[in-house]
């Protein structure tokens, strides 16, 4: 309550100050007053010229709706608004990926794993190609979490070897023993299905073809090298 009051007085002093709106919203969110928080997050987004702050406000507003449950379409709309506000921030991609993976099941009409994979991939692309400042308050995003999100959704859409590779690489990104155990456990789960694929006729044909192409390329290279000599 005291934090809300402190932030409220600052807001009253400068109601159009985006940071004061954001701080007041966050203090309400901390007290689980999600509707009140929503008002001030949206005001912050409207009044700020800082795209990353607007993006963070809209993402936090979406999280407030999430807590209220049953407002999925509005939640997603805000996440998309946040993506538009700061397309170079990885956080909204992570949240978008989570949005779809949380809601996905094996039922035909709820298989949104590709959406989850897509947003994780887009976020990783941002992560690997641009550098922007992070959000003020954590939304659970981290490099490891974003890659993990991609790996999980990759499994669900059948990209098992890619998932295997991501988990393998994730082992190099953390010293956290719990995370390492989690990644190893995922890798173990993947080994058997991967073996199944490796033993399948289709995979053998694919492998033979690739070996053939590789040998052709190698022969051509040898011929070129000979000509040079």
């Amino acid at each position: 309550m005291e934090q809300i009051k402190t932030c409220l007085l600052k807001y009253i002093d400068e109601p159009n100050n985006p940071k004061y709106n954001f701080d007041l919203a966050y203090s309400y969110e901390e007290e689980q007053q999600y509707s009140a928080a929503y008002s001030f997050y949206l005001r912050c987004a409207e009044f700020t010229n800082n795209n990353i702050l607007a993006c963070e406000s809209l993402i936090r507003a979406s999280l407030c709706l999430n807590k209220q449950t049953g407002r999925d379409s509005k939640e997603l709309y805000l996440i998309k608004q946040a993506l538009c506000a700061s397309p170079n921030s990885p956080e909204p991609y992570y949240i978008a990926s989570l949005y779809f993976s949380y809601r996905s099941t094996n039922e035909v009409e709820r298989r949104w794993w590709l959406d989850s994979y897509m947003y994780a991939s887009l976020g990783i692309n941002i992560l690997e190609t641009t550098e922007v400042s992070n959000f003020i308050h954590s939304v659970g995003y981290s490099k490891v979490n974003l890659y993990y999100q991609k790996a999980l959704s990759a499994i669900k859409i059948g990209k098992l070897s890619e998932a295997f590779e991501i988990f393998d690489n994730l082992l190099l990104l953390t010293n956290d023993i719990n995370l390492i155990n989690l990644f190893i456990s995922n890798i173990y789960q993947l080994i058997e299905p991967l073996n199944n694929i490796v033993n399948s006729i289709s995979y053998k044909k694919y492998n033979d073809y690739n070996r053939f192409i590789a040998s052709q390329t190698s022969n051509e290279k040898n011929i070129q090298d000979t000509n040079i000599i």
Binding site: Q32, S35, Y38
Partner: protein, 338 residues
Amino acid sequence: MYDNLVKTILEDTESLIQPIYIKSDATNMGGLCNASLCYHNDILHVIIRSVEYTIHCCEGEEKYQSNYEGPLAYYHKDSDLTLKTVNYYGILNPDTLILESYNKIDTTKCDTHPLWCFIGLEDVRLVNWNNIFYAIGVRRDTTTNGQGRMEFSELELGKNKVNEVNRIRIESPNIHSYCEKNWMPIKNKPFHFVRWTNPVEIVEVNLNTANAKVIYSNTIKFYIMPYELRGGSQLVEWDTSSYLSIIHECDFVPKNFNGNKNASYYHRFVIWNNDFSVKYISSSFNFMSTKIEFCIGLEVIEDYAIILFGYQDNSCYALKLKKNTLNNIIWNKLKPVS
């Protein structure tokens, strides 16, 4: 329009503002707003409206509009298009304005199956007349077309529970009226309400017949106002010869550029003579610089005025200031431009 009146009020160091809220597990995480007050037997009673929706209210450039409704939208559940209201009764500390206790009003005895999408008793004014507490608001869920009528909800206050024990729907003096709402109770005149402000119409309710009779009306408008003056707080005695109330007005845009609705709400102080003629209407103001605010809570306790208002239907605030300070604001800061 005077922007951010609360900032001016707080320039007096004796003034106070307090956010009013209830633990979220009790309110289903929806918004709290539009609270009303009744000071009775040295206790400051309060009714707080809790709504199941969250209002999406764009401001400034209105860049982040909702998907289907534009800049102003009710964010209810995707699978439930109804707009539900429940009410909490509580006790406010008159010194600190801290909510000391609260209970959800149990309406199960009087509830019937709702027939329209606005469900529950909305924007309740709390009064104590003839030693009975009545929560008086508009209900629009009893017909399939959303007809609104003022309803008296008789409350029984227990130690840890508050029950609605009787409900009376009041017919309008104009039976063809679609929606009657925001009637302003006159605190020291039991069953009397201001139905219209400009020009004035006062009605008296008879609970036995469930009717309201016009007992005073004036055909002359006090001022030509840019928007219709709508009801707000109860009328409380301001000095020996006048009453004070707060009313609201709405700049409603039915269709903006993209065909969506939009609105801005403003408030005014109204001082009434003892005969219910209007003595003074202040210039318009907003409380905390936002588009959607609503005030139905006003009480005077000794030398102080206490005002409660809702912010975008998403939060609620209590203000306390000295009567002298308020008088100065009403007559000077909010003096209408002639």
